[in-house]
């Protein structure tokens, strides 16, 4: 029993509540936030290593045996996501320390960040479908708080749409949980997997699975459920946008992976063509949206949508390799996207706007910023040896290997469009001549640059040491797709149904 699995949940929870209680002592609150994030980071790295060496880690919440209580399960997918989430959170907290108006602090910005981390971590670790819903709500609620904190008109308008459309998605999730319990009679994912696998004629189960697709899809911002994202993501402070881009849609993607990759594999095979169609549309429509924008953050926001398409493509390939490739891509995008938001945010701080037209001349003035931005967009576009290349390569390799040529072509084509729209920012903000004397504008301090730069370096290092990364993602994909292994880890070798029957005898 890996009871330590609760640490990444208890730590942000205590951190956040204590930070609220001690909110008046700024330093104490900050220290608590930082300590808790570092704790999560250290733990998740250790957990990843543990999962890599010893396989899945399982703990039963409250000590109740598996299909009845709430199981916590860490496999490769969960551990990797947890790691990336902690890294991003650390970068975001650091960036916020340096950039954010202190007023935010008085209104519980940092506790909200921690609670977001809590929700995300819970979602990555839980092995219970309803518990997953609860963590979804935790992270959603925290994101609602964060996206509206600041109270500009844009934040309020965007936040309202963000919130309502997300509520629709999470309501669908809840309905799906209910229907699933009605049909399958259980909530434990391993048990669901076992029971669903034993059904010969899925019938209504397909509709239920589709409802999960709708629910997670709307969280992940797939076409045609992505509209909430571009309308709201560019409104809050950059740090918030960055962490959102890194974590929120990815939780939806994670859930799709978990539920379709492990729990409902039969349905995954059914839905694979649909998923690939959605993936292609999401890639293309997202990138077209980005091409239409003239604002750094809005461009990046639309790219989030586009890149979710790649993640979905990994799922739609419906194989361990596809899932591994999709995961690799997703982990990469989480990091790089946040980095780009940070660096773009630094530019925004200089010019006081995120519109690219009035900017210019940054390559001369802030060469370090320019270098990291350029590396970032290279990574995003999948240029070797940065991490993006491996994600793209893996997806294309699996796509081609499985004969999914069309989606592979779309994926490849989308990446050049991605590059194009990112070059637009590069051209306008960095290369273009400044319109006026730049000497009056503020300079970029290390606090503004470092978090983004560090993440870009992570991307570079991840690319150079891609072998480890690929090994882990392959492990994760294999574990994810290994239904029997999952059931065995959660409920023991005989499976959940055996436990169920013996408990009720």
């Amino acid at each position: 029993m890996a009871n330590h699995l609760f640490i990444p949940l208890v730590s942000p929870l205590l951190g956040a509540t204590l930070a609220v209680i001690f909110g008046r002592q700024r330093l104490v609150a900050r220290a608590m936030v930082l300590a808790s994030v570092l704790c999560n980071l250290g733990y998740s790295l250790w957990l990843l290593w543990l999962v890599g060496t010893q396989g899945r880690q399982v703990s039963q919440g409250g000590g109740w045996i598996a299909p009845f209580g709430i199981s916590m399960v860490a496999d490769g997918l969960g551990a990797i996501m947890l790691c990336v989430a902690s890294v991003l959170m650390l970068a975001t907290v650091a960036y916020s320390f340096f950039t954010l108006d202190p007023a935010y602090e008085r209104y519980f910005y940092y506790p909200l960040l921690l609670l977001l981390l809590l929700g995300v971590s819970g979602a990555f670790l839980t092995g219970d479908i309803f518990n997953l819903y609860v963590w979804f709500e935790v992270l959603l609620m925290a994101s609602f708080g964060l996206i509206t904190l600041g109270g500009t008109r844009g934040q309020l308008e965007g936040g309202l749409k963000y919130m309502v459309l997300n509520l629709v998605g999470s309501t669908a999730f809840l309905i799906a949980c209910g229907l699933l319990y009605g049909v399958v009679g259980t909530l434990n994912m391993a048990h669901i997997a076992e029971r669903m696998a034993s059904v010969r004629e899925p019938g209504i189960l397909t509709a239920v699975a589709c409802m999960f697709l709708f629910a997670y899809g709307s969280k992940a911002a797939i076409v045609p459920l992505y509209f909430w994202l571009p309308t709201s993501y560019h409104t809050p402070p950059v740090a918030v946008t960055a962490i959102f881009s890194g974590l929120l849609t990815k939780v939806g993607a994670y859930s799709l992976y978990r539920v379709f990759g492990t729990v409902m594999q039969n349905e995954l095979q059914h839905l694979a063509p649909l998923l690939l169609l959605i993936a292609g549309l999401t890639m293309v429509i997202g990138v077209l949206g980005a091409m239409a924008q003239m604002n750094v953050r809005r461009i990046l926001s639309f790219h989030i949508v586009s890149q979710i398409g790649y993640t979905i493509m990994g799922l739609g390939l419906a194989s361990a390799a596809g899932l591994a490739a999709g995961l690799l891509f997703t982990a990469h995008v989480m990091i790089v996207k946040a980095a780009l938001f940070f660096i773009g945010g630094a530019a925004e701080q200089i010019y006081g706007t995120a519109e690219i037209k009035p900017m210019g001349g940054l390559a001369r003035r802030e060469p370090a910023l320019a270098i990291f931005w350029f590396l970032g967009i290279l990574s995003l576009a999948g240029i070797p040896p940065l991490s993006g290349f491996f994600g793209k390569l893996a997806l294309l390799q699996v796509g081609v290997g499985q004969g999914a040529y069309l989606i592979s072509a779309v994926a490849a084509g989308t990446s050049i469009l991605t590059f194009f729209s990112m070059l637009k920012i590069w051209n306008e903000v960095f290369w273009k001549k400044a319109y006026a004397d730049m000497s009056k504008l503020p300079r970029v301090g290390p606090g503004l640059l470092l978090p983004g730069a560090a993440l870009v370096v992570v991307s570079l290092v991840a690319g150079l040491a891609a072998s480890t990364l690929v090994d882990y993602s392959t492990l994760a994909g294999t574990q994810l797709f290994d239904q029997a292994g999952y059931i065995g880890a959660v409920c023991g070798a005989d499976g959940c149904e055996a436990v169920y029957e013996s408990a009720l005898r």
Binding site: G151, L156, G178
Partner: protein, 116 residues
């Protein structure tokens, strides 16, 4: 029983969707409230039978009354109710502030963040 309930649930969802497609913020929020009622009832029906008069309270020997209702869905719904209460409160506050910012409760006037 189930048919009757199913119709009630359907009407809750239908009403919620209709309200949420309106332009007024208030109607939208009321739609959300109805939506959560619909979901709660839906989960309730999914329990191990909808039963009369046997709440899931066991006697001193730990034996449930005959024909007891499914306690699990009740616990799930409780959780869902409380969560949706938190969400409703938040959306209310948000709508209130948006109202203040925009000066109207017409959602169509809150389209500035998407303007190209």
């Amino acid at each position: 029983m189930v048919l009757l309930l199913a119709i009630a649930i359907g009407s809750l969802f239908g009403g919620a969707i209709y309200l949420m497609l309106r332009r007024s913020v208030v109607k939208l929020i009321l739609g959300l409230v109805l939506l959560s009622h619909g979901v709660n009832l839906l989960i309730f029906v999914m329990g191990d039978g909808v039963r009369r008069g046997a709440p899931p309270i066991v006697d001193a020997q730990g034996l449930p009354p005959p024909g007891v209702a499914d306690p699990l869905v009740q616990a799930l719904i409780l959780t869902a109710i409380v969560i949706s209460f938190g969400l409703t409160a938040f959306v209310l506050a948000l709508a209130y502030r948006a109202n203040q910012a925009v000066g109207t409760d017409d959602l169509d006037d809150m389209a500035s963040t998407d303007r190209l």
